[in-house]
Symmetry: C2
Subunit: 125 residues, 2 copies
DNA sequence: CGGTATCCCCGCTGATACTG
DNA sequence: CAGTATCAGCGGGGATACCG
């Protein structure tokens, strides 16, 4: 197996429009309910949130705790194994910050940095 | 701007099926010609290789050096700015290795790990 | 050699409605 | 509350052919 596949398989985890944001929120807030994740990401549909969470669960990154009660309650959290992604998320965030700074220097401060990435619609915590 | 966007904008760089592999080869081999990259990744089409390289060039990650001669010769390399991705690529590769190991422990050694990721067709350096 | 130009598919994503 | 079900679209990516 070529070394490049390691990089590829690492990336697999992040494939999907919303996974990085979901992971960010779970890493930041610890345990979150389905509805809390929805509130944190107003633009994601239930369908997408569910499917992305299921994939993360399948990859053993996210744990899904179901409370059998009415009304239902489901809590999501990062698994112990998922916590091994911490340095990666950190490196990702740090490079992102440096990159944003780089863009500011290139194009000036006045323009919204979000706009560079077409991320105006993304809202976070 | 929410912190999560930092992670998102970092990911932007890797969006695209082949960018991680391209970056891996360029990080590993230094300077490479278009045809060398093709040889390293037999399954990528010229169209894809070109478009992904253009995007990396646009993001100032990859440098494109054109030698005006016949036959043409074009060399690609990581820019100084692109080299700031090194820790990220490293973290990515390291997590990938750990992840692959994790999969082996879960499902046993006999099965091709590539198969877990559907990466049988990917061939590297 | 190092690309463009074209055509086309399919699967990711979104919108909406329904359910235990 | 926390999801499925269903339908529809659009564009990323592949195959092939052609060009400077």
């Amino acid at each position: 197996m070529p070394e490049s596949c390691k990089v590829e398989s690492a990336l697999e985890i992040f494939v999907g429009k919303w996974k990085p944001v979901i992971l960010f929120h779970l890493f930041t807030n610890g345990t979150m309910r389905f509805s809390e994740l929805q509130k944190a990401m107003p633009d994601i549909t239930k369908k997408m949130l569910t499917s992305q969470l299921r994939e993360l669960e399948y990859h053993n990154i996210v744990h899904r705790e179901i409370y059998r009660q009415i009304p239902p309650k489901v809590e999501y959290s990062i698994t112990e194994y998922g916590k091994k992604l911490t340095p990666l998320i950190k490196a990702l965030g740090e490079w992102g910050m440096a990159h944003v700074q780089h863009l500011k220097e290139l194009y000036g401060e006045e323009r919204s940095v979000d706009a560079f990435e077409g991320k105006e619609e993304i809202s976070g915590a």
